[in-house]
């Protein structure tokens, strides 16, 4: 340290050694700050590596998705319902008293547990959220209705499709 000080005073630049040192320190701090940005940018590949890729559209195939773990027999009669899956997500499928097949994305809009079909209502066991059979949140913490899907049977298998989608099997 002391040697550096000596050389700087011998340089005899205008303003003296202390000024020069302060100037150098300020210059280094500025450059260090700016270069940190660059160093950060060079870590971008690692960031991209870790970023999840966009999830594929669950209905990419013919506008519909096959239902897993629920067969037509599971929802054959009014009042029957069962939890299943489609394209990696959860679905609750049941048959209403009127005999209509209905399906909702089973992820509760409150905290994400899968809801359960309980005859007259859809119930979430985690925090007691209650939905009616139209998927409307009627009691408990859920802030929004469930997302309805269009369910239909074809060749002995169940499928779901996006509700706005006019294309149907």
């Amino acid at each position: 340290m002391s040697e550096t000080r000596d050389t700087e005073s011998s340089a005899g630049g205008p303003g003296g050694a202390a000024d020069a040192r302060r100037g150098r320190r300020r210059f280094l701090a500025l450059m260090g700050g700016l270069s940190a940005c660059w160093t950060g940018a060079s870590l971008y590949p690692a960031y991209r590596f870790l970023s999840p890729q966009a999830a594929p559209d669950p209905f990419a195939e013919n506008g519909r998705a096959a239902v897993e773990k629920v067969t037509p027999a599971d929802v054959a009669r009014p009042g029957m319902g069962k939890n299943g899956g489609y394209a990696g997500r959860g679905v609750i499928i049941f048959r209403t008293q009127a005999g209509k097949l209905r399906a909702f994305d089973s992820k509760c809009t409150h905290a994400g547990c899968n809801v359960e079909f309980q005859g007259e209502r859809l119930f979430c066991n985690c925090h007691g959220g209650v939905y009616d059979l139209d998927g409307t949140n009627i009691a408990g913490p859920p802030p929004r209705p469930l997302t309805e899907l269009e369910a239909f049977e074809q060749d002995g298998l169940l499928y779901v499709a996006r509700i706005a989608d006019p294309a149907k099997g």
Partner: protein, 372 residues
């Protein structure tokens, strides 16, 4: 009790060395020193110095190996995010073909591993020829040998993980060789493989070895290795030690030596990135335990010497080859207990000659193995 009594006073030599108390850095450092009285350690480290002589450049090797290890840890952690030991080949294929920059990060991991092995060989032979292993530095030498061994185990276990046909058969061959070892050989091979053959169970074992056991081991041994170096200082070659005191030149370790090392570390990192950009690591077809081994299958360069050695001793003579290899390894460990005299005596000269022969043998066998 007043505030000041709870704090440790700052030593006067620390006051001289620290930046002014009114600057931010000075205030922060003083606050830290008042709480943690570690000035004696810092003072000790500040006094550390590196001898300057013609072979000084070789002192960079250990630091370089650490840089490569750091790259290995960083890229290894990233690769673990997508690697699935239950679907080894498919998950590596996904890394290579689908994950953004996956192929790049995997190539960096591959090249850095190779350069790390290369640097460690250079480090070992340079300290050997500078005779840095002599007392009191036996433990530095032994931990260094252990680090080389652990690195080769890293390479061996990591090589299998992609589960392509090259790595499958290479691992099968190596473990069959271990099996031939007298006594504990078959038991050891079965334990490592997790059964009589290389299967998905072997992947589980190698994966755990590669990402938990060996990393813990390498960090512990490096800690011991570095502690030895810090406590005992950098060894001085005989020719330097024999100089009159005023002709000996030193550089401060932390002020000058390490600052000048930083660009060399950075250049090593740049080299790894350049190699990964120019020569990306490929992925061979998935291992098929029933198919014929692929043509032209060879071990990685650091295993070519033992590979060639085994080819030289066919049939029952194979045990001689195995014996020679193990003898060489044990011999390396025994070096600091055989050659102890400072300055080097007759034994020292014999040891240097043996080392030169060993290095020449290693290089010749490696090149021979590559070309044959």
């Amino acid at each position: 009790m007043s505030m000041d009594q709870r704090f440790v006073p700052i030593p006067s030599d620390a006051e001289d060395a620290l930046p002014p108390a009114r600057s931010t850095a000075g205030a922060a450092l003083r606050a830290a020193l008042r709480r943690f009285p570690i000035w004696p350690v810092i003072a000790f480290l500040r006094g550390k110095r590196v001898p300057q002589h013609r072979a000084t450049a070789w002192y960079a090797m250990g630091g370089l190996a650490l840089v490569f290890l750091a790259i290995q840890i960083a890229t290894g952690i990233l690769l673990m995010v997508y690697y699935r030991p239950s679907q080894p080949w498919a998950s590596v294929q996904r890394i290579v073909n689908e994950v953004p920059y996956g192929a790049f990060i995997r190539s960096v991991h591959h090249w850095s591993a190779n350069l790390m092995a290369l640097t460690l060989f250079a480090h070992m032979f340079s300290t050997f020829f500078m005779k840095a292993y002599r007392p009191p530095r036996e433990l530095t030498w032994l931990t260094g040998c252990a680090l080389l061994g652990v690195t080769l185990l890293f390479a061996f276990s990591g090589y299998l993980l992609p589960w392509d046909d090259l790595s499958f058969f290479a691992t099968r061959v190596s473990l069959t060789e271990i099996e031939k070892g007298p006594g504990l050989g078959p038991w050891l091979a079965d334990l490592v493989r997790g059964g009589p053959d290389v299967t998905i169970d072997t992947i589980g074992r190698f994966y755990v070895l590669h990402v938990t056991v060996l990393p813990l081991a390498v960090l512990a041994i490096i800690g011991a290795h570095l502690l030895c170096i810090q406590l005992q200082g950098v060894s001085e070659p005989d020719r330097f030690a024999a100089l009159p005191e005023r002709e000996k030149k030193y550089r401060a370790f932390f002020g000058d030596f390490m600052i000048a090392e930083i660009p060399i570390w950075l250049a090593a990192s740049a080299l790894v990135v350049a190699l990964a950009a120019a020569v990306p690591r490929g992925l061979a077809p998935e291992a098929d335990p029933f198919a014929a081994a692929p043509a032209g299958i060879k071990p990685e360069w650091y295993f070519l010497a033992p590979y060639q050695m085994l080819k030289l001793f066919p049939g029952h003579l194979e045990l001689i080859g195995l014996g020679l290899m193990n003898g060489a390894m044990l011999g390396a460990l025994a070096v600091p207990f055989i050659d102890r005299a400072v300055p080097a005596g007759a034994r020292g000269r014999i040891m240097t000659a043996l080392g030169a022969a060993g290095l020449a043998g290693f290089v010749v066998l490696t090149v021979w193995g590559r070309l044959s």
